[in-house]
């Protein structure tokens, strides 16, 4: 491979990365707008409607305001880690998008076989998403510790406990999906659900779908699991001391993680880019995937508008005493059903590897 080829390859990769990160950043901005409007609608008020037509320029005005604010470092903060923490929070949320397949395309008939629309088509895509997702703790933990503030530290410790607990049940819910799909490649998982909504994994794995999505809420520290922020008890939790653009980076990370969880839920349980009925296949797959993702983002917002915050012991009870046994039982049920003569034909309907 000559140097020129390598340069071209690197250029293509850079373009691919930009083609994913820029839409993610833009959609983060407009999800904040959507959230304010939807919550306003649910609480019978207007929401932001002053800047631009129907308030559509509000996210840009917010971004500009945050950009122009002064960034303050507390006197006794650990400077290096204080500055590194927002970056470490944002990085995993964006890096995980590298393996997400946004659909299949043959580039208008130029390629002979359909290719996956993902930066990297990894054999272990789902493990990669889990591994990278587990790194999101560091940003929060370091932010809390480096600020040298009691509220921030309490927020960070709460958040870590919560994320570590819910990651376990999330992982087991993913194991159930793997037992049906027989592959860790995200493209294969989606293609295992091809052919209409009765092939989707939400049907045999409905409890796991609930566990995954609710744990996803807890992982992203969204309401009703927003104890790390808990503004009524610990002001703003781990990012009390942050201001300006660094503060904005944390919310950017939170919303990017929210998009990621929604995308993963649609990919693993809702058939990814496949239409619910094969007759609707004329609509491009990417639109289906993004539509399903938007629905889950709406669910996140709906949760925030309706549920009161959990108490901390209730949160731990839900994670360890309800979700974990539930997932373990479901793994056993799936395993037994796969190798029991009568049941295996039923469960085999969702297992393309058999």
């Amino acid at each position: 491979m000559s140097l020129l080829d390598m340069a071209i390859q690197a250029g293509i990769w850079a373009l691919e990365i930009l083609a994913i990160t820029i839409p993610v950043a833009l959609s983060v901005a407009y999800i904040t707008y959507l959230e304010r409007r939807v919550i306003g609608w649910m609480q019978i008020r207007k929401g932001c409607n002053r800047v631009g037509w129907a308030g559509l320029l509000q996210p840009i005005a917010d971004g500009l305001k945050l950009f122009l604010k002064e960034s303050i470092i507390p006197t006794h903060a650990n400077k290096a880690l204080f500055v590194a923490a927002p970056v470490l929070a944002l990085l995993p949320a964006l890096v995980a998008f590298a393996v997400i397949p946004f659909g299949e395309t043959d580039l208008f008939g130029i390629w002979k076989s359909p290719h996956l629309m993902a930066i990297a088509n990894l054999n272990i895509g789902i493990l990669y998403v889990m591994a990278v997702g587990s790194l999101a703790i560091y940003g929060i933990l370091l932010a809390g510790w480096a600020s040298n503030s009691k509220y921030a530290l309490i927020g960070a410790v709460r958040s870590t406990c919560q994320m570590v607990s819910y990651e376990v049940s999330m992982g087991f819910a993913i194991v159930c999906v793997l037992m049906l799909a027989g592959s860790m490649n995200l493209g294969d998982i989606v293609n295992a659900q091809a052919g209409g909504f009765w092939h989707w994994y939400i049907i045999p794995l409905f409890p796991m779908f609930l566990v995954y999505f609710i744990s996803g809420c807890a992982e992203t520290n969204r309401s009703p699991f927003d104890l790390p922020e808990g503004e009524s008890e610990i002001v703003a939790g781990f990012f009390v001391e942050y201001s300006g653009m660094w503060f904005a980076t944390f919310s950017l990370a939170e919303y990017a993680a929210m998009i990621l969880i929604s995308l993963m839920t649609s990919i693993m349980f809702m058939g990814g880019w496949h239409a619910p009925i094969p007759a609707l296949d004329f609509i491009p797959g990417t639109l289906w995937l993004l539509g399903k993702t938007l629905f889950f983002i709406f669910l996140f917002i709906w949760f925030r508008a309706t549920f009161p915050r959990y108490r901390y012991d209730q949160l731990m009870r839900l994670g360890w005493k309800v979700f974990l046994p539930c997932t373990l039982v479901w793994i056993a049920v799936l395993g037994i059903a796969t190798y029991t003569p009568g049941l295996s034909t039923i469960i085999g309907f969702w297992q393309p590897w058999r």
């Binding site: 650990n78 290096a80 880690l81 990894l122 054999n123 272990i124 493990l127 990669y128 889990m130 591994a131 990278v132 587990s134 790194l135 703790i137 560091y138 933990l141 370091l142 510790w145 530290l153 960070a156 410790v157 870590t160 570590v164 990651e167 860790m184 012991d313 009870r317």
Partner: protein, 194 residues
């Protein structure tokens, strides 16, 4: 060519990270350097096409074990001045151990076992060979007994840690959630005729 460049990059960064773990004053910085070191170790696994082990390294060590490390360090108050007390007193013993380890490693390195002729170079297989599936087949056939033994040891450790830390206080007020859910309107509400 590119592979060896990346090998030296990951290897070198891992060594630098490991050195900084020992040399940094602040234990929190040490933990961060250790995480950095694990990432480079995972990179070395990726170079060997062992993507499953590489990802598991990140998932287990960086995602879980190091978080617990940080958790412990946050709770500790580390006094650097007290840690450095008696440095000269312990130097002879520590220095001797360090020298021994260094001689061992150097003699192993120059013994010829790790020379370029002796080491087999890893052959890169195509993407159709699934690392994870191969590990699974090997683990559940050849090494089934060892695997199950490890599982039992882990289970024993799990039960042991629960037994060691469980404290049941009779005077503490716990919430009995099934009882709360089972409460009926008639249990709490009484109609009074006025």
């Amino acid at each position: 060519m590119l592979e060896s460049i990346f090998f030296y990059l990951f290897g070198g960064l891992a060594t630098i990270g490991a050195l900084l773990v020992v040399l940094s004053r602040n234990p929190m910085h040490s933990v961060m350097w250790l995480i950095f070191c694990f990432f480079n170790a995972a990179g070395l696994f990726f170079l060997l096409d062992a993507e499953f082990i590489g990802i598991i390294t990140i998932l287990i060590y960086v995602g879980a074990v190091m978080v617990l490390f940080i958790f412990v360090i946050i709770m500790l108050e580390v006094n650097v001045a007290r840690m450095r007390e008696g440095f000269l007193h312990h130097l002879p013993l520590g220095g001797m151990i360090a020298m021994l380890v260094f001689i061992e490693m150097a003699s192993a390195g120059f013994s010829g076992v790790f020379s370029a002729e002796q080491m087999g170079t890893a052959v890169h297989l195509g993407q159709e060979v699934n690392n994870t599936a191969e590990i699974g087949k090997e683990l559940y056939t050849h090494y089934l007994l060892g695997f199950e033994l490890a599982a039992i040891i882990l289970l024993a450790a799990l039960v042991g840690s629960v037994v060691l830390t469980i404290r049941s206080r009779k005077d503490a007020k716990y919430q009995n959630i099934p009882a709360q859910i089972a409460v009926k309107k008639s249990d709490r509400l009484r109609k009074v005729r006025m």
